[in-house]
C-alpha cells in the first residue's frame, strides 16, 4: 500500500453510510406515514 493512504476506504464508507441512513429514513417514513396511517382492515 502506498504510504500516506488511509488504512480504510473512508470515502467509500461515507457513501455507503449515507445510503444506509437515507434508506432507513425513507423506510421509516413509508412505514409510519403510509402503512400505519392507512389503519388495518377488519378481518
Amino acid at each position: 500500500m502506498p504510504p500516506g493512504l488511509p488504512k480504510h476506504p473512508i470515502g467509500t464508507f461515507a457513501f455507503v453510510g449515507l445510503y444506509a441512513v437515507l434508506f432507513v429514513v425513507g423506510w421509516f417514513a413509508i412505514y409510519t406515514f403510509i402503512y400505519l396511517a392507512r389503519q388495518p382492515v377488519t378481518p
Partner: protein, 187 residues
Amino acid sequence: MKVDLYEKIWMWGVTGMLVLFFGSMANGALTANRHPPSHVETIDPMAVMKDPRFATQGVRVDADGRVHAWIIGLTFTWLPAEMTLPADTPITFHVTAVDVTHGFHIVRTNGQTMVLPGYISQFTTQFAAGEYLVACNEYCGIGHHNMAGKLVVVPAAEWSAPGSAAVAPGPDAVVVVAGEEAGHEGH
C-alpha cells in the same frame, strides 16, 4: 474465530435490518392489530359460478343493512370489474378465485388480500369518495398486467343499494373486459 472488520460491519448491518423488519411486523400485529386477512371459508373452485354465494357477483346489502361485495377473480379479470359503493361505510369484501392465485389490491388503500382457489378471502374496510383502481398483485399469467377493476365510491347519501333481493344483480354488476376501460397501474 477471527472475523474481518468489513465482514463484521456487514453482519451487523444485516442483523440490524432483520431486527427492523421483524420488529415492524411485531409492532404492526401487536399495537395496530394488523394481521393477514385470513378467513377460513372454503368453496369448490370448480363450482363457484353455481355457488349461491357467488352466483351473482357484485354489491349486496344484508338484512342488517351491512354492505357486502362478492367478487370472483379469474384470468384476467375481476367479476364484476366495476362496482359502485357508498363512502365512509364499512364494506365487507368476499373474494375467491376459480383458476389460479390472484391478489386483490385496492390501490392506495389498506384493502388487499390474496385470492386462492378453494377459499373465500374476506376483509372489511371503508373508503372516502372517489375512484379506486383494483389491481391484481399476484402474477397470474400472461395477461396479469391487464387484470384491473374499478371501485366508484360515492357519498353514502347518493348511493342506493342495488335491488332489494339479497342475490339480485345490481346495476353495477357489469363485466368490463379488463384493459378496455380500467386503469393500468397494476403489475
